[in-house]
């Protein structure tokens, strides 16, 4: 109910302004409203930041427990995996801040591209702290490793991180498309959380079957292992190029599935 009320409010406010013509300007109008709305609830910021710190502490403790019994995991040592955890956290921030708030608001009748609109129209600004804290953690771990990334490595990191964001977005769109066949969208987000848990560790640490799953079928290995490798200097250039290709293919497939789902939906509604 609240969400619907919010939506009408937002729509009214937008109509008071000059109606933006491009999707980007529409998007920025929604985000501005969103930020203004969120700033009223500053307590949420504290809660959200505490939640992030708690999650990071849990992840680090889990890792420490593993390393209590071993010195390397899949050929990576402790601080290298902490770099990876930082990347994982930053990407989780992107998901929480940008993708998740759009759940359940399938606004298909608006005259903008529905996929982009459903995906990005709301912004949970507090979860942007996840991105900052995640990158901070990765930086600290690099410091502990005594490794200063070269410019080339930083560029590779930027590119593979962008590719990672595209892959995460593609997986998200595929799951959201499933909502056209199944019932409840919120629960599909749960599935994403479950699957994405696997990206907390370098893919080389998993037994063969899981590794195959994470590289080829649900390509989450490309989202954390590869950018973290770029930062620590493990990444071979051809793997970096492969990451870009994977992002392109994943995006194309996700877009095709979304369109199919949408056509099916339009058909069903008569």
């Amino acid at each position: 109910m609240e969400q619907w009320a919010d939506e009408t409010n937002a729509a009214n406010l937008v109509m008071m302004f000059r109606v933006p013509t491009s999707a980007f300007r529409l998007l920025s109008a929604f985000w501005r409203l969103n930020v203004a709305e969120e700033l009223q609830y500053r307590a949420n910021f504290i809660a959200s930041a505490l939640g992030t710190v708690f999650n990071m502490a849990t992840a680090l403790l889990t890792l420490s427990l593993f390393f209590h019994h071993t010195t390397t995991l899949g050929g990576w040592d402790y601080w290298e995996i902490v770099v990876l955890l930082g990347v994982f956290n930053a990407l989780t921030g992107v998901i929480e801040a940008v993708l998740r708030p759009g759940i359940g608001q399938l606004v298909l009748v608006k005259p903008v591209d529905a996929q982009g609109f459903v995906s990005f129209r709301q912004l949970d600004i507090w979860r942007l702290t996840d991105i900052v804290l995640g990158l901070g953690l990765a930086g600290y771990a690099l410091f502990r490793l005594g490794h200063t990334p070269s410019l080339a490595q930083l560029i590779a990191f930027g590119l593979t991180l962008a590719a990672a964001a595209v892959v995460v977005y593609a997986i998200w769109v595929v799951l959201m498309s499933l909502a056209f066949w199944f019932v409840s969208v919120e629960n599909i987000a749960v599935l994403f959380d479950a699957v994405y848990e696997g990206a907390r560790y370098p893919v080389s640490a998993y037994p063969g079957a899981l590794r195959f799953l994470f590289v080829y079928l649900i390509p989450i290995a490309w989202t954390t292992t590869i950018p973290a490798s770029a930062l620590t200097g493990r990444l071979r250039p051809e793997i970096g190029l492969a990451a870009a290709a994977v992002a392109g293919v994943a995006f194309g497939l996700a877009r095709a599935l979304w369109r199919t789902a949408l056509r099916r939906y339009a058909g069903a509604s008569g």
Partner: protein
């Protein structure tokens, strides 16, 4: 009472049936965490063993975690939080039956469905993969069943009581998340308690966390040896169940009084 329960369970079962896909999703969510933990411990154990756990021991342990976690888990704090915030509690209070009964029935229906799926999957996997086979031991399975019932009852009261905190705070589910984060280590979800640093494992044993999950799991896999360890484990479960029932009674009576006052 039995007829009422039969009706409640049937109702919960039918409601769940409408959301079959959701049940599958929650099931996958419950299975991936132990599966990933198993994958990592599998790599660490290699051809040797970690604190006496070889690969096959880890496999049995985490399959038992999947099953027993599904049998004992309780989502009630999320339901109660919503009931209290949205006022859905009102019509439930007006019924001639305590709302906890509906929650218990809902739990039974959910568990019957998800746990039986996991049990079938386990049996199928065991045919192909000897590592996850358990030795035939009906006596131990019977005792495990008792421990599972005690653990499920305790987790129900923990979840229900925490949910009741919604009478006072808007962050009841956050407290439950905090508890879940602690139970990751202390209840044995990420590793057998024997692999934790001894001080941490000690805390898990003194508090209720071991009774929640790790103890029934260790019973099933045969790690609990001797009458003494068995009785101490069951005793701990009974004591903590009593404590949480008490906490529930206090939270319910005070909360209802406060709720009534606000409603005028």
């Amino acid at each position: 009472m039995i007829r009422r329960y039969a009706a409640l369970i049937r109702n919960a079962w039918l409601v769940d049936l409408q959301y079959r896909a959701s049940i599958v999703l929650w099931l996958l969510w419950g299975v991936t965490e132990p599966a990933i933990a198993l994958g990592i411990w599998w790599a660490i154990a290699g051809d040797g063993s970690v604190a006496g756990y070889a690969r096959a021991d880890f496999a049995r342990y985490f399959f038992a975690v999947m099953l027993i976690n599904q049998l004992t888990i309780a989502w009630d704090s999320w339901y109660l939080d919503r009931w209290i915030r949205d006022g859905e509690l009102n019509f439930r209070l007006a019924r001639p039956l305590h709302p906890a009964h509906e929650a218990v029935a809902e739990n039974l229906a959910y568990k019957a469905r998800t746990a039986s799926v996991i049990l079938v999957v386990w049996l199928v996997v065991a045919v192909a993969w000897p590592a996850v086979r358990l030795p035939f031991a009906p006596g131990r399975w019977a005792i495990t069943a008792v421990a599972v019932v005690l653990a499920a009852a305790m987790r129900f009261f923990i979840s229900f009581t925490t949910g009741l905190l919604a009478f006072w705070t808007t962050r009841a589910t956050a407290i439950m998340e905090l508890h879940a984060g602690m139970s990751l280590f202390l209840a044995g979800r990420i590793a057998p308690l024997a692999l934790l640093p001894p001080a941490v494992a000690g805390i898990a044993g003194v508090l209720w966390f071991r009774s929640m999950l790790a103890f029934p799991v260790d019973l099933l896999t045969g790690t609990v040896q001797g009458t003494d360890a068995l009785l101490r484990g069951l005793g701990g479960q009974i004591v903590w169940l009593g404590v949480w029932i008490l906490a529930y009674r206090v939270a319910w009576s005070r909360g209802i009084r406060k709720y009534g006052a606000v409603g005028g």
